[in-house]
């Protein structure tokens, strides 16, 4: 047995999945990423099937293949499945699969979280789709505008399936966003400074942060609407002081960034693939980094361009119109950087390149119609017409699906170790490309000729007949194209010729793993010297599997990877990664029970399920640090750098901070809703006297302040190496926090809040529940820390975890006082509206 083989055996023993059904306990990013992508692919086919049904119905005028009700379910589900169950998850899956390999890490840094995210996605997707089989699918549009989606106008469970199921799925998006951010910042291989990061990582970093800020408004909106439907709290009901337009603001506050969340990773694939097939480094790396960051921010400033016809003052519309046009600048920068790369290099024709040319063609059209739509007067004409349908498919299919399939062909040898067939692949491309343009190019005209969206039928005299017929024919051509691609991919697993390592002569590290990759990616972790490691250090292809670089010890049986400095890529610590675990699957299953019990409105079961889920999550947090299943003191310590649980600036702290950013975004969305309703809602009503006792709130807040101060003090001492009396300090913080929590709970449930009559009181209730939720988690987690000190899992040699918890205390404190100021004091200062 050669030395590399021997090394492989030893690593594989530690890193492989459990056999048989045990594969369900896999947490490894390669397995999880593959599952995300396969599941996403299946959902894509389902969404595509729905699209074919829609096109069948619209092929001829006055058809009744589908009833109006069924047609509503079809287009609602088509949008929902494509957006939430296909586009976002499959890109997350690609990022989960690729990112650690590109940055030279062995796994993502919160592997159990990846697995939890996957199961939440899978179960949520199944729940949402089951409604389709039961014939009670959501039918108020994928945008769920109230009042149409509320209990009065959508009495069935359809809207509940959407609100609960999609929120469940979003857990996976947010957790992937957090995990990818921290992984990119903290687990790059040595020498990979920020400026040497593969460009794809920049795209994913910005996308992940956009998810962190973009999804919470929708999660909040879904919670509010579900509370309105299930508990009668009137957030969007004008009569009680709510406003249906608030839903639109919150929805599009998520919905527009979402478009770029889908586009950016795909554009990242273009920027990765193009240099490989032109044999020249990407032109304008710095320009592109700048353009990506710019896109990320500006995309949050143009949500109201979906709302130009709701009657917003023209000046406000002009702000959003300007922002929408400005986003053309970073997009144009990228397009011209790509063109310049082609210009300066020599194009190698291949399947991935074909898809990228298709992308350029289609996406440019979509971008140009996008600029047109940003013109307010034009928008008033074509908004909600088929022109918009055409535009959005040009942007999303052109901007996401084409690069994705290009990426699929590019990385296919990496997944399988085999090459796809050129001939079938070309057929697939041309059929899809021609079919796509036939379907959607004409739709621009259909829209200009006045056909609104979401019509289940149309009359003969309207002048839309031949356009719709051609669009429908085109859609069937796309379907044959997709079928070709699927056949090609399936066949290649059997008949494709062997790929070997780095078949395209690419520059990025993921091709140094060998194809298909081993579970641990790299037997040794290299130090890289440039932005194109495999072009400038080709010897890595041999030296990595031969174990010539860092972190080759494996006798201790721990999964490990390097933790490095976020900016310089200098080695800081050795990260311990959890191994196979059933906890993610069990927790997700319990959460699925919670979701279903809320759907069928059996709240006792829901409460039990929530409690059980919490128990599993805390159990999960228990097996960390110095726990015997992790890395107890006395284990063999690594040579290169200290184990992460022995340090105080680990990935857990970073993960906590990023999580709190998402949390803060949710809180800001709530605050926005409160201020918005206060100033804009037509019938906003405020009770003469606040139903909440201010002195009691102040008392509760003082207790919380004391507990936070006390906890922070204990952590400061611990970081200074002093752990005497640590357990009792933590118990004091827990006790004081518990007193604060008890008082807060009493205020919430004893106050005379008329939550079903006044929007005002309903919002206050949600705010109080938000505070209670955070205080509870903080207090329980602190109690657990005290116990862990007793068991010896936390001490001055293991100071990692209390440091992680500190931002949580500070956040809880901050939102408490911010709430007192803006929900209780500001109204007093402002006076009755």
């Amino acid at each position: 047995m050669t030395e590399p083989d021997n090394l492989h055996q030893r690593f594989d023993k530690v890193w492989r999945n459990l056999p048989g059904w045990g594969a369900l306990a896999a947490v490894n990013h390669t397995s999880v990423g593959r599952r995300f992508m396969v599941t996403g692919g299946i959902f894509f086919l389902i969404g595509g099937l729905l699209a074919m049904l829609i096109r069948t119905q619209l092929a001829l005028p006055d058809q009744d293949t589908l009833s109006p009700g069924l047609y509503s379910q079809m287009f609602t589900m088509h949008g929902t499945v494509m957006m939430f169950l296909f586009a976002i998850p499959i890109l997350e899956g690609a990022a989960i699969y690729l990112i650690p390999k590109m940055i030279g890490a062995r796994d993502l840094i919160f592997p159990r979280l990846s697995a939890l995210g996957y199961y939440c996605y899978l179960f949520g997707g199944i729940i949402v789709l089951s409604s389709l089989l039961l014939g009670i699918a959501p039918d108020a549009g994928w945008f769920m505008y109230t009042p149409l989606s509320n209990a009065e106008f959508s009495p069935g469970p359809g809207s509940d399936f959407w609100l609960l199921g999609i929120t469940f799925v979003e857990i996976s998006a947010v957790s992937a966003g957090i995990e990818l951010t921290v992984a990119i910042l903290r687990s790059r291989t040595q020498g990979m400074t920020l400026s040497k990061m593969p460009i794809f990582c920049w795209y994913i970093l910005v996308t992940a942060l956009m998810i962190v800020f973009g999804f919470p408004p929708l999660i909040l909106a879904s919670i509010l609407l579900e509370l309105e439907r299930a508990a009668g709290m009137p957030f969007f009901d004008v009569a009680a002081g709510g406003d249906p337009i608030l839903w639109q603001h919150l929805f599009w506050l998520f919905g527009h960034p979402e478009v770029y969340i889908i586009f950016l990773p795909a554009a990242g694939m273009v920027s990765t693939i193009l240099p490989v097939f032109t044999g020249r480094p990407l032109v304008g790396y710095r320009w592109i980094v700048m353009a990506v960051i710019l896109t990320g921010f500006i995309s949050f400033g143009l949500w109201a361009h979906h709302m130009f016809t709701v009657g917003i003052p023209q000046m406000a519309q002009a702000f959003f119109s300007m922002a929408s046009m400005m986003v053309a600048i970073p997009t144009a920068i990228q397009i011209f950087a790509w063109l310049a790369t082609i210009w300066t290099g020599r194009v190698v024709y291949s399947l991935p390149m074909l898809w990228i040319f298709g992308f350029l063609f289609i996406f440019v059209i979509g971008g140009l119609t996008g600029v047109m739509l940003a013109m307010v007067p034009f928008n008033w004409q074509v908004h909600d017409s088929h022109f918009v349908v055409a535009h959005l498919h040009y942007v999303l299919v052109g901007g996401m699906l084409f690069p994705l399939i290009g990426g699929l062909y590019y990385w296919l040898p990496h997944f399988s170790g085999r090459m796809p067939s050129e001939r079938l692949g070309r057929w697939g491309f041309w059929l899809t490309f021609i079919g796509f343009n036939a379907t959607f190019f004409l739709m621009h005209l259909t829209g200009l000729l006045g056909m609104p969206r979401r019509f289940y039928t149309y009359g003969e005299g309207a002048g839309w007949d031949w356009l719709n017929l051609l669009s429908s024919v085109g859609s069937f051509v796309i379907a044959t194209g997709v079928a070709m691609i699927i056949i090609d991919v399936v066949l290649h697993f059997r008949f494709g010729r062997k790929a070997g390592s780095n078949p395209w002569n690419a520059d990025t590290l993921e091709w140094a793993t060998g194809t298909p990759p081993p579970m641990y990616n790299f037997a040794s972790l290299p130090e890289i010297k440039s932005r194109h490691p495999l072009w400038n250090q080709p010897e890595l292809l041999e030296s990595i599997p031969a174990g010539e670089h860092g972190l080759t010890q494996i006798e201790h049986g721990r999964r490990e990877t390097f933790g490095t400095d976020a900016i310089t890529g200098k080695l800081k610590e050795v990260m311990l990664l959890p191994t196979n675990s059933w906890l993610p699957l069990i927790t997700a299953a319990v959460l699925a029970v919670l979701c279903v019990s809320l759907l069928v409105r059996s709240y006792t079961v829901a409460m039990v399920a929530a409690a059980v889920a919490a128990v599993f999550l805390f159990r999960w947090s228990w097996e960390n640090g110095g726990h015997p299943k992790a890395a107890p003191l006395g284990d063999k310590e690594p040579e290169e750098a200290p184990l992460q649980s022995r340090t105080t600036d680990g990935s857990g702290l970073w993960g906590m901070v990023i999580t709190l950013l998402a949390d803060g975004a949710l809180y800001l969305a709530l605050l926005f809703g409160w201020l918005y309703l206060w100033t804009v809602a037509p019938n906003w009503a405020v009770p003469d006297e606040s139903p909440i006792s201010l002195p009691m709130m102040a008392l509760s807040g003082l207790l919380l302040t004391g507990a936070t101060w006390w906890y922070s003090g204990a952590v400061k001492k611990l970081k200074a190496g002093n752990d005497s009396g640590l357990e009792s300090r933590f118990w004091v913080a827990t006790g004081t926090g518990a007193a604060h929590l008890a008082l807060l709970a009493w205020i919430t449930f004893a106050s005379p809040l008329a939550t079903t009559e006044y929007t005002h009181d309903a919002v206050l209730f949600v705010m109080l529940m938000f505070l209670i939720f955070h205080s509870s988690i903080t207090v329980i987690a602190t109690g657990l820390q005290a116990l862990r000190v007793r068991f010896g899992y936390v001490s001055k040699k293991l100071p990692y975890e209390p440091v992680v918890l500190r931002p949580m205390w500070i956040f809880t404190l901050a939102i408490f006082w911010c709430s007192v100021a803006s929900f209780l004091l500001l109204p007093i200062a402002w006076g009755p509206a």
Binding site: Q314, M325, A332, L360, P377, R454
Partner: protein, 239 residues
């Protein structure tokens, strides 16, 4: 040669006729019958032609970039090319385009607003949207109608639009843009017809099962005919 030219000319004429007839239709925003729709249609054509020009330019550029015979470039040369391309195409091109669009777009948008009239008098019609029909009423009269709106020609009409249930959107493409009908709010849309005739309209915001059949008709009458209609309707309602 001459016959070929003639055939070509005939083909061009036929094609443009087909294109133009393709643009007409009862709901066509490209077949305007009032000032609001007219200015937007002009804007539409201008933007379509501009977009097409940019698109063709980009495709040709890309095609040439792929095809051209290129020599090995040094890094410094590549850097220079890159900066030139990005500054010209990535920054200058969109900035110029956006500026041009705004120069035309902002005045057009402004002219569509229901601002107080400089001269003459407008008229007001109230519309209440319901699942799935439109209630029409004329303030200061008792006249009520369903899905049928009579207006005088060449007079700016302010439609005060609201909803009794879910969100709808009021859209008559040959006269102008759309505006949403929202419960609890009243939005104002100003439309004007230049010719006597019937103009179709429909609901543009998805509002449930009957969304596709929530149409209405705007009937533009000459000033005298409209007066006569008012008298007659008013008399009928009072009976």
């Amino acid at each position: 040669m001459a016959t070929m030219k003639k055939t070509l000319a005939a083909a061009t004429v036929a094609a443009s006729l087909m294109l133009l007839s393709g643009c007409s239709g009862p709901y066509s925003s490209l077949d305007p019958a009032g000032p609001a729709a007219g200015s937007v249609a002009a804007l539409t054509w201008a933007m379509l032609i501009g977009a097409l020009t940019i698109f063709i330019g980009l495709i040709l550029l890309c095609w040439y970039a792929v095809r051209r015979n290129n020599e090995e470039l040094s890094d410094a040369e590549a850097q220079r090319i890159q900066n030139r391309w990005i500054l010209a195409g990535g920054i200058a091109l969109p900035v110029v385009t956006i500026t041009a669009l705004l120069t035309f777009g902002i005045p057009i948008g402004h002219s569509l607003l229901p601002l107080p009239l400089q001269q003459g008098e407008g008229m007001r019609i109230d519309i209440k949207a319901r699942q799935w029909f439109w209630e029409v009423s004329y303030p200061d009269t008792d006249i009520q109608a369903i899905n049928e709106i009579h207006i005088p020609v060449d007079t700016p009409v302010d439609f005060h639009i609201s909803s009794a249930d879910v969100i709808h959107s009021f859209w008559s493409p040959r006269l102008g843009g759309k505006i949403d009908a929202i419960p609890g709010r009243t939005n104002v849309l100003r439309l004007e017809a230049n010719q006597v005739g019937e103009y179709s309209g429909q609901c543009a915001e998805f509002c449930g099962g009957g969304h596709a059949v929530m149409g209405f008709t705007i009937i533009a009458l000459s000033a005298e005919d409209f007066e006569a209609w008012l008298q007659q309707e008013g008399a009928e309602t009072n009976d």
